[in-house]
């Protein structure tokens, strides 16, 4: 449905229900060497899948919501949704976000100042369903119509003319998983409204009331983590096994005899890694171990359940799951009497363990939490480890994870490190607190089912990929090997999929990785070649 046909508020509802798919021709074009790039369309679900799972207004499924089989089931879900919406606006059920939510729901002046800052809205060629105000506006209509006194009076005049059905609800639910919660829209809003927050609250309503959410975040995310200790399924014995292989590898690769300590009491730092690093990027785990050991830091990891996985996907969709995991994390730290927790390279783990946990975890469990980037800055800038920047003589740019910069204001430490060890560092534009999301935020990077990954690489990650090409436009040829430093596990997961889809290694010689790997690559005490230049 073209934008020109959107004339009135009633058309928003029609758009929600009638829109189908995003055409590749609408996607924002990419610069050289992709000027002739042709995107494959986002695959449609098969007939069998359509029979079993609902899709959003773009034909994509992130949540794998089962198709209700009867009208009664649909009605029950609609009633449940409205119950949930009521609860979302009560202090008892939503003390965590009630004030920010009320402010955002009640004060949007619909000026659309936020729209151009949304990377997903922009990348899709301005698809209306991805406009930052679209889903909040649908929610406002529902709130006004069904929850406010006099909701049915003059609905056309007030723009509250909506008759809620299951189709409305399920499409709204799916749309809540088309925003990475990057909050660029919130930065632009002159009134202070936060559309990302409203989106998150929509996700929460569906999860906490109807039990509908993205399976990778819930069933094989938070539930698995609470059961086995990690969202990867890794149990305490498994983590120690992997660590022994890592130690063996470090010894052979670097000539350093490093022992990764577990469960040491009274350590200065309890290091909390995203367990995804262990399986997908173990060099990150190794690099941390090398740096901390060489610098003589008194550190430990924990083998207690949840103690070795800093991930907390509840941050993205469910306050109850979030709280359960956060409390467990702090219990582990308390049991070990750690002086501080040190958060490794994971953006959302930073946010989950630092500002959010501060008001959710009871005071008696509080342990100070510090970003690893701050400690690393101290070690690098104050020469507590010996570095030779000439070992990193290749173009490097720095990706800013949204949770670190825009949501927490940790901007300079990582830059001071990269400037010190990478002679050919160049910034992306925009960067820092104005960064562009990688497109994998809010859990998208772990969304692997049905056609969601295809949407992620083509739409939500599009602007970031364009930005990377622009950062290296003076040396984009594949013969010049270049490095995208991304100090965040979820961002790296998204980069991996972006680089695969866009053939970044073959076309541009572009590799991604963490920050600590760059540090170790420059360490004089380590044999040269810690960074391996291959993409597989």
């Amino acid at each position: 449905m073209p934008l020109s046909q959107l004339k009135s508020p009633e058309d928003l509802e029609r758009f929600l229900l009638e829109n189908e798919g995003i055409a590749p021709r609408d996607l924002v074009p990419l610069p050289f060497p992709y000027q002739d790039w042709k995107d494959d369309p986002i695959p449609e679900l098969t007939e069998d899948q359509r029979g079993r799972f609902e899709v959003g207004p773009d034909g994509v499924s992130a949540m794998r919501v089962p198709v209700p089989t009867t009208e009664e089931e649909r009605d029950k879900l609609v009633a449940g949704f409205l119950d949930g919406l009521r609860k979302l606006l009560t202090k008892e059920n939503n003390w965590t976000f009630l004030q920010p939510l009320m402010l955002s729901l009640e004060n949007c002046v619909k000026c659309q100042t936020c729209a151009e800052l949304c990377p997903i809205y922009t990348a899709s060629g301005h698809a209306e369903i991805y406009r930052p105000t679209f889903r909040p506006e649908i929610l406002r209509k529902i709130v006004s119509r069904y929850l406010k006194p006099g909701g049915g009076i003059f609905p056309k005049l007030r723009g509250t003319d909506i008759e809620l059905t299951w189709d409305h609800i399920v499409r709204l639910a799916e749309l809540s998983y088309r925003c990475t919660l990057c909050r660029r829209c919130a930065q632009a809003c002159p009134v202070g409204v936060d559309n990302a927050l409203i989106t998150r609250e929509i996700r929460k309503l569906f999860s906490q009331e109807l039990g509908l959410n993205m399976p990778e975040l819930h069933d094989v995310g938070t539930i698995k983590q609470l059961d086995t200790g990690s969202s990867t399924g890794m149990n305490p014995a498994g983590v120690k096994d992997i660590v022994e292989f890592a130690e063996d590898d470090i010894r052979e690769k670097t000539g350093l005899d490093i022992k990764i300590p577990f469960d040491v009491k009274d350590a200065d730092y309890l290091v909390m890694h995203n367990a995804g690093e262990f399986l997908s990027w173990p060099e990150n785990l190794q690099a941390f171990a090398i740096i901390l050991s060489v610098a003589g830091v008194k550190w430990t990891m924990a083998s207690d359940l949840l103690g070795y996985d800093s991930v907390n996907y509840g941050l993205f969709y469910d306050d109850v799951q979030y709280s359960r995991i956060a409390i467990k994390h702090f219990e582990v730290a308390k049991n070990l009497n750690a002086k501080r927790m040190l958060v490794g390279e994971c953006g959302h783990a930073h946010k989950a363990l630092m500002p959010i946990a501060d008001r959710v975890v009871p005071m008696e469990l509080h342990v100070p939490v510090e970003s690893a980037l701050v400690l690393l800055e101290d070690l690098v800038v104050n020469e507590k480890i010996m570095l030779d920047p000439s070992r990193n003589e290749f173009p490097v740019t720095l990706h800013d994870p949204c949770n670190l910069t825009r949501s927490m204001g940790i901007v300079e430490p990582q830059r001071n490190i990269v400037r010190a060890i990478c002679p050919q560092f160049r910034e992306m534009e925009p960067h820092g607190v104005n960064n562009l999301c990688c497109g994998g935020g809010s859990g998208f990077a772990v969304g692997q089912s049905l056609n969601f990954p295809a949407w992620r690489t083509r739409v939500s990650g599009r602007l970031k990929y364009r930005q990377l090409l622009e950062a290296f436009d003076d040396c984009i040829e594949p013969e010049t090997k270049k490095y995208v430093c991304a100090p965040c596990s979820n961002c790296k997961g998204q980069m991996r999929d972006l680089f695969t889809y866009y053939e970044a290694w073959d076309r541009c010689g572009m590799l991604y990785g963490g920050l600590v790997e760059l540090v170790v690559n420059a360490m004089v005490d380590v044999r040269e070649g810690f960074l391996e230049w291959n993409f597989n």
């Binding site: 014995a237 890592a246 052979e252």
Partner: protein, 287 residues
């Protein structure tokens, strides 16, 4: 003349020539240290360093200075090797380290650097390389765990008996992670384990682990075979040999690669091992 300059002291003047003249007359060492550490003009920094005499003040410049040139100049003026050693412990800077070592000949100081784990490995290795005393080197070989330091000590030992004593005393305490393979394969999908081990390709144990997965077959086995095939081009010959050992069950499938490796591998031991495998393949095919 700007108003701000009128209000400042001469060593804070915006004109470096004025600051230079001020440095020549300054008696306050703390101010000289500050200028040496932070002044944006090279001449001013160097002149300030030259005016400093006390090792303690020069140490401060070497550690806290913002500009490497001033820090190196300060190091060159220090005459106490213990102070130089202390600088290396406080600040792990390669140029500073080399400059410090140029002025350390004292064997006691070198020994303390070699044995003290608060120094980085490279500094300790350099210290070992500067030892003359064979008994000291043998003791280092016996007591120090770091492979890099043991290699340095071994390299300096002339007496084969002393070298052998050192090797046999410091046993390998690493039981090896191979024993965890069964448990890992119970916990995770073999494909996941294969990918994870593939990332540890410098580890002989990981290479052996890939062999275990290869033997199981299936998709994971194919992936393990693929990874092991790449490890045949690893930089370290021991790792290539281990990969070859693990690839033996798959040898007929990769015969062409092996034939190429038999000619191109830089290590004669590896080439011999590869030829042995090729001969076995040819014999089986002949039968």
């Amino acid at each position: 003349m700007s108003l701000s300059n009128l209000l400042r002291r001469r060593h804070q003047h915006s004109d470096p020539a004025v600051r230079l003249r001020a440095v020549a007359a300054l008696e306050d060492e703390s101010v000289l240290v500050q200028l040496a550490c932070e002044d944006p003009d090279l001449e001013v920094r160097h002149r300030a360093v030259e005016r400093l005499k006390a090792n303690g003040m020069l140490r401060k410049v070497a550690i806290e200075g913002r500009h490497l040139d001033a820090r190196l100049k300060a190091v060159a003026q220090i005459d106490d090797p213990r102070v130089l050693a202390d600088i290396m412990r406080e600040r792990k800077n390669p140029a500073l380290m080399m400059a410090c070592f140029e002025h350390i000949q004292d064997q006691d100081v070198l020994e303390s650097i070699a044995r003290d784990s608060s120094y980085n490995v490279t500094a300790r290795r350099i210290a070992i390389n500067m030892f003359a005393d064979q008994n000291l080197l043998a003791d280092i070989l016996k007591t120090v765990r770091s492979p890099a330091l043991r290699e340095a000590a071994r390299g300096r030992l002339v007496d084969p008996e002393l070298r052998e004593t050192g090797e046999s005393t410091a046993g390998d305490e690493h039981a090896g992670p191979d024993r965890h393979m069964d448990r890992m394969l119970e916990t995770y999908e073999p494909e996941v384990v294969a990918e994870m081990l593939g990332a540890f390709r410098d580890s002989p144990a990981a290479v052996r682990g890939l062999g275990v997965i290869l033997a199981r077959g299936g998709e994971a086995g194919e992936r393990a075979e693929e990874i092991l095939g790449r490890i045949l081009r690893h930089a370290a010959s021991e790792i290539r040999l281990e990969a070859l050992r693990q690839l033996r069950p798959a040898a007929p499938r990769i015969a062409d690669d092996l034939r190429s490796l038999a000619e191109s591998d830089p290590d004669p031991q590896v080439r011999a091992a590869v030829r042995e495998v090729i001969n076995e393949i040819d014999k089986q095919q002949g039968e």
